[in-house]
Subunit: 414 residues, 2 copies
Amino acid sequence: MNAEIIAIGSELLTPFRQDTNSLYLTEKLNDLGVDVIFKTIVGDNRERLTEAATQAISRADIVIFSGGLGPTEDDLTRECVAQALGLELRRDPKIVSALEERFAARGWKMSPNNAKQADVIAGATILPNPSGTASGQWIAGKYDGGEKIIILLPGPPHEMRAVFDPDCMERLRAKVPPTFIATRVLKITGIGESHCDARVAPIYQKYPEIQTTILAGAGEIQLHLKTQATNLEDAQRRADQLVEQIEAELGDLVFSDNGDSLEQIVGYYLQMRGATVAVAESCTGGLLAERITSVSGSSRYFLGGAVVYSNAMKTAFADVPAVLIAEHGAVSGAVACALADGIRKRCGSTFGVGVTGVAGPTGGTAEKPVGLVFHALASESGVDVVERNFPGDRNRIRQFASQQALDMLRTKLM
Amino acid sequence: MNAEIIAIGSELLTPFRQDTNSLYLTEKLNDLGVDVIFKTIVGDNRERLTEAATQAISRADIVIFSGGLGPTEDDLTRECVAQALGLELRRDPKIVSALEERFAARGWKMSPNNAKQADVIAGATILPNPSGTASGQWIAGKYDGGEKIIILLPGPPHEMRAVFDPDCMERLRAKVPPTFIATRVLKITGIGESHCDARVAPIYQKYPEIQTTILAGAGEIQLHLKTQATNLEDAQRRADQLVEQIEAELGDLVFSDNGDSLEQIVGYYLQMRGATVAVAESCTGGLLAERITSVSGSSRYFLGGAVVYSNAMKTAFADVPAVLIAEHGAVSGAVACALADGIRKRCGSTFGVGVTGVAGPTGGTAEKPVGLVFHALASESGVDVVERNFPGDRNRIRQFASQQALDMLRTKLM
């Protein structure tokens, strides 16, 4: 079976807002073995919305609408879908009372336009909205020559999920032929996208029944694998087989095969080893500490960090000798090592990380260009340093550098 | 005139990828006074793409396709658009030679499938692609009963822009009736979305010819204003008038009327006053320093930061007396003040900022729940502290707290 998702709202046709509901719904539909064949975005316009609804009902088995269920004149989804289906709208007195009660409970009188939210397409099942006033609706039957399922959902993402998850997944599962889907995500670092693809393409191409998607960010590649079969074991076995072969090819470049972020993985390892870390960062400006502490519970292994932009602070917070900075320059392997070792001793942590570089766009020289970053990792056994030249803008260079520093810690802990 | 944007690619119908080209194109079209009435996303499927193209050509004046211009079997845009228009595809020998040369220059032999990229719809103008092998195409004429403009663009965003900007904007401007558009963006902090809207809606509703969009994030509201007129002065005057009235209503809650971020504004003020800042942050974990240093040139006013998760580090890096922590707890106004004052003295900066709180999801108590954050700002004249209870998850609470801290600095500097 296939589906079309229609997002409704004139704000979704501006440069500032994007429909994100369809990503969530696509994932859920895919889990049921349903492919999404079209996504349409249409404004709050009666004629165009009716046209889009009519087309979608003619070409897809399942049509999901999100948005346009509010109380204002602009909210047209109920009436346009009813028109596209050739069905009546009926005002449901029970919903009207529930709306009135909801307003009364807050000490407000309901304005008459709100009653519009009680309009139900003939034959539709009402899908209660625990997070708002706009109920969803479910219609299943023979329309336009085929069995169709039509779902109306509210537009705000938390309301959409609050209606879809409890009320639509099981209903859909009962209607959709049973398929079992296995998905795996591999996260990879320390290799570029084209090199990675050159190594893994010959492997995944041997599995045409597994859909493989490569996504690349600054210093991180994700391989999304997905396959379906008529029983879960087969699907899972096939996906696991491919994962195993890719992991054998890439080895330790794969840092996660269950969706965890690099900072989470580093956190697991640190906890497992009963180790702690402290960081002294210059060009990443707090990003490294921010990523480590974005993980809940990181206070168990993260002792502290110093953002040492000025040379004086490098000395004051991480005991980098002023003479070392004078001799090698603030952006140097020697200073990165001194930062890592200094912050480790200062904080009494198992590991110390030091990062110094040129994030740009200004401050680069012929000798030390924008993108040059030194990363150091200090432990009881000594200090390692890695020099890299990252491409991209300030933001991307900082992202790359934080990724490299985290990966040094991961590799050390493995 | 109006437009429809069609994004082509099966990967855009997965949960992992989103069409972003349409946001860019919408902004450019809006600048020309062209409204986008539909966005459609369709996979690499001959029948569905032809259907989408046929519909779009029938209902919009301008139809822009992005994607599906590559050399593989999946790249179908050229042939499907030709079919929808009832036109022939002709292989252009000049493009074939150019492609062959491009490959030869890299020492490669062109594989035959690449020649497909030289197929041109009869009557189309070729739009060269300086960033890749897929040329764009421009077709203008009478189709489906009206004057239409049809544009084919490559899918990768940097290629799409490299083709659209030089080759389509001027051509479109020549075809579209002249309209002048004025846009303004106001950024606001220190007030919630509904309170903000309650204060400004009565003002912007007096200007129905200005389109007002409100976007709300954690601790920041943006008001996007846009209006069009037949001369630029009129459009600009109208938008400026509304901006003036909103600024009069909201006063210092508006921190930017030209698109600058809060960290940029704080940076301007610090430089203007010849002042410097240092930060000591606990629950924000480096985010505050990261935001300040995300601004290029911030090394001129940002001296350093300490991420002090453990109590020992609060004492070691910001000289917070251990007895103060024991007495008030690490999450307290007293400790926030001591962090701000301590880091200021330690770094010798004009201002010191201290943040301590419970970012959650764990670590909350009845007395100090998740979301409770103390923000302090120290200067020569003393220390101010603000206590807030933020809603949301760990990420959102950290975002709110960094915004509050930056805003205290902004207000102090004004």
